[in-house]
């Protein structure tokens, strides 16, 4: 474990939170902590990435908990996750205050409409990028399609879908089935 001071840890994760706008956030954290600062090795980083995607909850805070814990123990985990969330929270609260407080004028409304549309384009691209790597397992395409249809089109309860479709997927991918493709790790280099 590298000796990283708490102050540096705070500044680093606050900076990660501030500069990770849009996609490729885990790739950005990898680049900052592993490639540029060498706080930990690729072999130490990748399990954290897998874990943060495997466990429920937003990915970046999960990854911050793992990395903070790795670098400075429990206190490091708390500091990292708070540092990564707080700057953005302040920003969104200012925006929420303006949005709900002053109301939205017609100009801002038109601008927001355009932003919302671009977000949809952005989400499409992200989903396709991640989907290309993730849809390789046994029955993966069907599991993906079934999930999309039940949650997206039929608007079924997501908890129920995760339970049923996830169970089915786990059974299809249970240990001991031959010729399993190697597990993916988030499409990092």
């Amino acid at each position: 474990m590298r000796q990283v001071s708490m102050g540096r840890l705070t500044r680093m994760f606050a900076w990660i939170g501030l500069s990770s706008i849009g996609g490729g956030r885990s790739a950005y954290i990898y680049d900052t902590l592993v490639e540029r600062h060498a706080w930990l090795t690729r072999e130490e980083f990748l399990p954290g990435l897998t874990l943060s995607q495997l466990l429920p909850g937003p990915n970046i805070p999960n990854l911050s908990v793992f990395l903070g814990n790795w670098l400075r123990g429990p206190v490091g985990a708390v500091v990292a996750v708070i540092a990564v969330i707080v700057p953005g929270t302040v920003a969104i609260l200012v925006l929420a205050g303006l949005y709900f407080g002053h109301g939205v004028g017609p100009d801002a409304e038109v601008a927001l409409r355009g932003m919302g549309a671009a977000v949809v384009g952005f989400l499409c691209v992200t989903t396709v990028r991640i989907g290309r790597g993730a849809l390789r397992g046994r029955g993966a395409i069907w599991i993906g399609a079934l999930t999309f249809l039940s949650v997206g089109i039929f608007q079924l309860n997501t908890f129920l879908v995760i339970l049923l479709v996830g169970g089915l997927s786990l059974w299809l991918n249970r240990p001991g089935r031959s010729k399993q493709p190697k597990a993916q790790t988030g499409g990092l280099p």
Binding site: S19, I60, G88, T89, Y99, M115, G116, A118, G144, G152
Partner: protein
């Protein structure tokens, strides 16, 4: 007081449905926040989500936006804590044992099993946001243009989203 508890419980449940990231939980979030509790309109939900995307930090910051609407700053604090604290605790507990667990056959099986589920949930998230955000031809064209620019990696995502807002504003000024 009841609304605070409802808010907290709703976001705790939503946080545990974030499989493979925040986007996957958007359909259920809209179902709860707009449909069941009526805290926001569908339009406000999409606006909040768009604002959370151009704000630095995790996309799930939209929780603060929703919480603020429901009960001011306290509501935002409750929603954020409910969204981030329980799952962070779980991650912390598991990460202490992860070195031993990560090679386990069932851990690998879960990893393989959840990947397509997460993609399906993400696609459902895109569909949910798209249904509210793409109201007419201009917004659809903007979304397609944004997708092309981002697929070609010409510009970073936040720049594209902000630029789309500006373009939309200009078009609105030209076509009253």
């Amino acid at each position: 007081m009841t609304v605070i508890l409802t808010l907290a419980w709703t976001f705790v449940r939503l946080s545990f449905l974030c499989v493979g990231g925040g986007l996957g939980v958007v359909p259920e979030m809209q179902r709860q926040v707009v449909g069941i509790h009526g805290w926001l309109t569908a339009r406000q939900f999409v606006d909040g989500y768009a604002l959370a995307q151009v704000t630095p930090g995790p996309g799930m910051l939209v929780s603060a936006f929703i919480g603020y609407r429901v009960y001011g700053l306290l509501g935002a604090f409750i929603a954020m804590t409910a969204m981030f604290l329980p799952t962070s605790l779980l991650t912390w507990i598991v990460s202490r044992h992860w070195q031993r667990l990560q090679g386990h056959p069932w851990a690998l099986a879960a990893e393989r099993a959840l990947a397509p589920l997460a993609v399906g949930l993400m696609a459902a998230g895109v569909y949910t946001v798209g249904r509210s955000a793409l109201a007419d031809l201009p917004t659809t064209i903007l979304a397609a243009a944004a997708a092309i620019i981002l697929a070609k990696r010409w510009l970073p995502a936040a720049a594209v989203v902000l630029a789309a807002g500006f373009v939309s504003y200009l078009l609105g000024a030209m076509i009253p």
